[in-house]
Symmetry: C2
Subunit: 402 residues, 2 copies
């Protein structure tokens, strides 16, 4: 809640866009708290901040946890921030309990996960994982034309080095951003991986014409074709359980006048599925539905795939560590796939990874109304701590407990 004061906005949410002064103040606060907890803090060439708690064997690859501190323009207090604060809480709890780990522990705040000021999203973790080049990140520009690299230097977080070092395991705690845990009365989501997804842009072209004087049987109504695609996309999402979803989120009509039959529609389509084979079948169904709507309505359809991201199954041992942590805490847990993208999905390409979800009220996220209960958030921290200790190895330092 203290962190949420940085960039707080009227509706109870937070606006802390990547590499703004608010982001800088959030980072400063995080770094100060980590140093006060005995961590050494450094940041890399894209501004990812790593707070390291030494282990007995400094040669062992660290067990890392974290998430991001940047928010949506009208974001909530938990998306990202919870995962970073949960990592800090783990460090503080280990200190309080006098627990030493074999491997070092690091808490990371990845730069620009939201991708709302600089595109794409998950820049910091993708660059760390080698999925995006340093030049591409530093050269990315915001709507005002300001470069990522310049803004990063301006707020004082342009450091040295980028990835290339082994990570023993990566765990990320996050609010679910969906309604399933709350509606099924589970406290912990044991996340087994990330969905694969395809994003498309669709253009439908018909013939704009006078709505009064053009008979029904002589129309080439682009919006009628679009409506058939919207319904088909919904059917396709429903036809691929479990885990399949399909959505049309953007649609614009031209000329968009009350008395003119729409001559042109631009729309987005996206499909997601945890199984890439099933997603390929959804892709085929989408293409068939678009072709069918175009043929029925005498429309020209141009379908352009803008993203094809494979599914990211998480590491079985890390998932097991989260599951065991939930069991040991006696918490009701549900194994689930992450529908949203997270830094963990990028890191899972280079390190054993798993995630811990906690419920959020009504599944609402990317919204100022985002909310989660202290009890659920604390439970997530305890599960995270157990999973990390299982991977880092630990023992109570004699006489250090308070």
């Amino acid at each position: 809640m203290d962190l949420a004061e940085v960039g707080a906005i009227a509706g109870g949410g937070v606006r802390r866009l990547a590499l703004t002064d608010e982001d800088r103040r959030g980072r400063d606060l995080f770094a100060r708290w980590c140093r006060e907890a005995g961590c050494t803090v450094r940041y890399d060439a894209v501004g990812n901040v790593f707070a390291r708690r030494a282990g007995r064997d400094g040669a062992l690859p660290p067990v890392v946890t974290g998430s991001h501190l940047d928010t949506q323009p009208n974001g909530g207090r938990f998306d990202g921030a919870y995962g970073v604060m949960a990592g800090l809480e783990v460090v503080r709890a280990l200190n309080d309990a006098g627990i030493e780990t074999e491997a070092p522990i690091e808490v990371v705040a990845w730069t620009n996960e939201e991708g709302t000021r600089f595109a794409p999203s998950m820049m910091g973790s993708m660059a760390f994982a080698g999925l995006m080049s340093l030049d591409a990140v530093l050269g990315s520009r915001d709507a005002q034309g300001l470069a990522f690299g310049d803004e990063l230097a301006r707020i004082g977080y342009r450091g040295e080095g980028l990835g290339g070092r082994p990570i023993g395991a990566y765990f990320e705690a996050h609010i679910e951003q969906g309604p399933v845990l709350e509606e099924t009365n589970h406290t912990i989501g044991v996340v087994t991986g990330g969905q694969g997804q395809c994003w498309y842009d669709l253009e439908l072209a018909g013939q704009a014409a006078h709505a009064g004087s053009t008979p029904m049987d002589r129309r080439r109504d682009a919006l009628l074709g679009a409506a058939r695609v919207v319904e088909a996309v919904n059917r396709i999402g429903t036809a691929f359980p479990p885990g399949g979803v399909a959505t049309v989120g953007h649609l614009s009509v031209s000329p968009d006048s009350r008395n003119v039959i729409p001559g042109r529609v631009s729309m987005s389509i996206e499909i997601r599925h945890p199984d890439d084979g099933r997603r390929a079948a959804m892709d085929a169904a989408v293409r068939e539905a678009v072709a069918d709507a175009a043929a029925r309505g005498s429309l020209e359809a141009t379908l352009h795939e803008v993203l094809d991201q494979p599914a990211a199954p998480f590491d079985a041992d890390c998932v097991a560590a989260v599951r065991e942590g939930a069991r040991a805490e006696g918490l009701a847990y549900l194994e689930m796939v992450s529908g949203a993208a997270h830094d963990a999905i990028a890191i899972s390409r280079i390190a054993p990874t798993a995630m811990v979800f906690v419920p959020c009220a009504g599944g609402v996220s990317h919204n100022e109304a985002e909310s989660a209960t202290p009890a659920d958030l604390a439970a997530g921290c305890r599960v995270l701590a157990r999973a990390m200790l299982a991977r880092a190895g630990s023992a109570v330092r004699s006489g250090a407990a308070r």
Copy 2:
């Protein structure tokens, strides 16, 4: 084509918005041509221009024809202008043939039919017919805040009086603005009346949510509901032949983001039918379809009717005069209802009225590509002349023919 030079734009079309300098120059040209044809020219309090060719009996109510000289922002050369020029051509032809009429003949250019600079459309004819008050017309403001009355005075066409005088008959020649005549190989449309229409605004409210992490069975997708309404509206238009049409021309989505399930959709619906009873049945079907889509999708629907305009059947004798004119000219004609609104629809409330349609290429109108053949345009003039003579009564003036 000379008139089309006034306000000509690059694509071959015309931009001659109401009460602009282009409108003034168009009016000046029309008035000069009418005076050269022996007419007396006057204009009324809303700028409607009347060119009068005397009849033998000045006490008889005039037989009036005309249309409008203003255009869409990217309009064509024929919408409106053809009807005014056709009236002038009738006067010139009567002069050339030395034909005198019993009743006077008037050619009118109604002010602001398009309604694109000052709303609503058909202001001049509606005010003349007493369907709109003088104050409402003069007080109407454009996007820059300029008042209709001031702009009318600025271009020098703010005259005296408004309607209140009998009209023996009103005929308007116009391009069809639809594809029917061209596709069915008819030269003349004998227009039996104007469609009645209802316009609605519909708001559908669901729940915006994350497109990746919200399962299909937990969504309240406003765009899915809107798609079902679009399809239903299309079915309703098709289910009420002959003459029924139904259209969704405007639709906007909120938040309109690729990865967010639409929480809100605003859209327009319009239905038109020449028979008000059948239109009432269409209205009921629309309301049922909206309620059904809302119930299926767990959406809140707010349907607001913004226009309810009854059908305007034309005068049987005037329609017969047009039909007889087409027969006498040996032209293929089709009886049809006007899908578009015209000044004739307003005038039909106060005087016996009919319209003459001629084909336009591809049915395209409100578009720079608007086109019609000289032969069809001339045929329309001949039919118009015969219909007007039938109503005005005529005889060849001895020795006046050239």
